[in-house]
């Protein structure tokens, strides 16, 4: 895959996260950090999506990326980690799929609507499980990272 393509994707992921951060009023000091986290997570998603082509793995790994990077950033800028998560998630989240499935229900295409709903749940669960994995990982690493940052 072209390196330019990946860079463009990361830049747009960054812009998307920063924009959502502004809408949801995140504190200004976390805006840059969550933008970068969101961009990199989107980059991970795009690459893994190209390589594996299935639905769960890209979302899972992107969520793990967000979980780890957001925790590190939260320690660095001293902010609650949930405040970091929200803007980073915006480009990964199955918002478009749930909307399309609800639109299909309105139009009476029941079979596609149910498919969409299940797809929505799959993606959302993949993201949520990714976060759980990242939290478990970070619980082990946190004291170590804090020590490392104090020295730096």
């Amino acid at each position: 895959m072209d390196i330019i393509v990946i860079l463009t994707e990361i830049v747009f992921g960054f812009l998307s996260s920063v924009g959502f951060g502004v809408i949801t009023n995140v504190p200004r000091r976390t805006l840059m950090a969550s933008g970068i986290t969101g961009g990199l997570a989107w980059g991970v998603y795009v690459i893994v999506d190209q390589v594996s082509g299935n639905l769960i793995l890209p979302n899972l790994l992107a969520a793990v990326t967000i979980g780890v990077l957001a925790n590190i950033a939260a320690i660095a800028v001293r902010a609650p980690v949930n405040v970091m998560y929200v803007p980073c998630l915006v480009s990964l989240v199955p918002g478009a799929i749930i909307y399309m499935s609800m639109k299909d229900f309105t139009l009476g295409h029941d079979a596609t609507a149910q498919q969409g709903l299940i797809k929505t749940l799959t993606v959302a669960f993949a993201l949520a499980i990714g976060f759980v994995l990242a939290e478990a990982l970070m619980n082990q690493l946190r004291p170590w990272i804090k020590r490392l940052m104090r020295r730096a």
């Binding site: 463009t8 504190p27 993201l127």
Partner: protein, 204 residues
Amino acid sequence: MTAVFVDAQTEAHTHLIKVRTGDFNLQKVDEINSVSRAFVGGEIDFDQLQQRIEAIDRKVIDFTWPQKIFGAGLVSVAPMLLFKATWADLAWAFFVGIAGYLASQWVGRQTTTPYITSAVGGFTIALLAAALVQWGWATSSDNIIISALMPLVPGVALTNSLRELIGKHTISGMVRAVDAVLVAGAIGGGVVLGAVLVRILAGV
């Protein structure tokens, strides 16, 4: 819909505070978090804590409107559609998304009826996107709609509700999941109405 339970360890009473759900304001969450950390750490006493919290409650912590509008525009260019939609459509989505965000914010100020804000946002976006395609300025109304809906769609809420379910906060997780589905339904209904309206108007 949502409530905060305040419980004292030494007493049997539980205080229940109903939350008026409206906008996100993560900046207030952050400030309350740092104040309570200072309190727990013993840096400020209870009176100071109360003062600071009241000050945070009264203070309007917000980005300015131009900043928010620009932010909504940025969110409306969905990375998901890069290299799938045409660049012109994505550029249109930037402006259509702003219009939808402004419409839903404006309606939210006029009424307290739940879900109508999302429906109006979806309606505006579908109307503009379908009209742009009808005039021949854009190629795919579906791509513009999906992209421009990003600021309104309850994807983050749904994912957070599943995180709550996994964290065993079952009740609040369920409440938010149902809310997210209803919001998506309202948006879907609004979009269908807008698209149908343009089709009728163009057919005449």
